[in-house]
């Protein structure tokens, strides 16, 4: 019992919470960037531009099917060979953004495909250009359908930031390792605390997504 009380001293908990802050910061920046790049890539793939869409599609499939951990390693240890040496947090954000953009691109594309083709045809028949029809008619409906998939992708992104501990990004997992590194008796309490922190953030998001989904339906 004493171990738990010692492990949960305010200094340790505050340190873990500071890690959580970095975790959330990295997740939010990455998800915003990935959403923008992912939308562009998804629309390009959907638009079936000769050759270009195919090439983009292949790149999406390749990166999507690689482990994120490999991409993190590549960003941090591989890029310096090309003369670009990012710091740990930017490297983590870059790696997460590259990976998540591809995941989101696929969600966007299948979301657009799920919108009835008649919507696009009707808008075109009304005299809208392809881009206008996409922006005003198809995308708003597509994004609505994609909310659950996008939120669950965001949840996996938050969980995946823990992998960035391998390049010593000061996020929650890393701070946890620092705390239980002081004393092996802290291992179980610290893991319980970390699990609760991740769980609260991720579960709250999944509940939020359910509420939004029900409102929209």
């Amino acid at each position: 019992m004493q171990n738990w009380i010692d492990a949960y001293s305010w200094i340790n908990i505050r340190f873990l919470l500071q890690g959580l802050e970095i975790t959330i910061l990295i997740s939010v920046i990455s998800v915003v960037l990935s959403f923008i790049f992912g939308s562009v890539l998804g629309i390009i793939r959907y638009a079936k531009i000769p050759y270009f869409s195919r090439i983009i599609g292949f790149i999406i499939d390749v990166i999507r099917n690689l482990p994120l951990l490999l991409i993190i390693f590549f960003t941090y240890f591989g890029l310096p060979a090309f003369g670009f040496k990012p710091d740990t947090i930017p490297a983590a954000i870059l790696a997460m953004t590259v990976f998540e953009s591809m995941m989101i691109a696929e969600i966007i594309r299948s979301g657009i495909l799920a919108v009835d083709i008649g919507q696009m045809e009707a808008s075109r028949a009304m005299g809208m250009k392809m881009g206008q029809a996409m922006w005003h008619v198809v995308l708003p409906q597509a994004y609505k359908k994609m909310i659950p998939a996008l939120v669950s992708q965001f949840i996996s992104l938050i969980k995946d930031t823990s992998l960035a501990t391998i390049i010593v990004v000061p996020e929650l997992m890393q701070h946890g390792q620092v705390v239980y590194g002081q004393n092996p008796n802290y291992i179980i309490p610290v893991f319980v605390a970390m699990a609760i922190m991740y769980f609260v953030v991720c579960y709250a998001l999944s509940l939020l997504s359910k509420v939004i989904d029900r409102r929209m339906a």
């Binding site: 499939d61 590549f74 591989g78 501990t165 991720c202």
Partner: protein
């Protein structure tokens, strides 16, 4: 790059083998555990549903790395000395089983409820009806999402590198740090992963299109 591949061929292949083995073991066990929890979630008993739900929600919302490291450290410290491969595979199994439970549950729910009722009306017990009538239909529906789970599993098996699980990622890091050819090594490691994941991914896309 070819020289690097030839020089370290045995390390790459052994890493690849351990990655495949870990993924297959975790798939096998998480299918069993996942299906059991999926059934718990649709059982008439409220207690069973709560247990199923808690398991799924807890392990779906905690990072795989936290689960894996926990088992690696805690089992080694308090129970029995296990190697990184075993700990990693246990972590993978538990994490993946929560996702498989969710997939199988939605498969069961999309089987018409009349199937269960008809089977029960014929005098079958809940388990008989589940096993002989509902599950065979549910599994057919969930094959494409299960394929995607397997792809995730192969990718996620890279966390074995954190616990020295001899897998592809672990070997890749060892090779990168001895040869200093980081870019080439990671490209080769990536190609090894793609050999497994890309064909499955394309096959699943094909299957989804055919079923739709």
């Amino acid at each position: 790059m070819i020289k690097l591949l030839v020089d370290n061929w045995s390390a790459f292949i052994s890493g690849f083998g351990w990655t495949v083995l870990s993924s297959l073991l975790a798939l096998f066990f998480s299918l069993i555990i996942g299906s059991l929890f999926a059934i718990l979630e649709v059982m008439p008993s409220k207690v069973a549903r709560v247990i199923g739900n808690v398991y799924v929600e807890v392990f779906r919302n905690i990072p795989l790395l936290v689960i894996t490291m926990f088992f690696y450290l805690v089992i080694t410290l308090y129970v029995v000395k296990i190697n990184g491969f075993t700990a990693g595979t246990i972590g993978l199994t538990i994490y993946t089983s929560a996702f498989i439970a969710e997939t199988v549950r939605s498969g069961i729910n999309s089987v018409d409820v009349g199937q269960m009722e008809a089977a029960r009306a014929q005098g079958m017990t809940f388990w008989q009806a589940m096993q002989n009538v509902v599950l065979p239909q549910a599994f057919k529906l969930v094959i494409p999402p299960l394929g995607n789970q397997f792809i995730n599993l192969v990718k996620n098996s890279s966390v074995l590198a954190f616990v020295a699980g001899f897998d592809l990622m672990y070997q890749g890091n060892a090779i990168a740090s001895t040869t200093f050819e980081t870019v080439n090594t990671y490209v080769v490691v990536g190609l090894f992963y793609l050999v497994i994941t890309l064909p499955i991914s394309y096959y699943m896309q094909h299957l989804e299109r055919k079923l739709a």
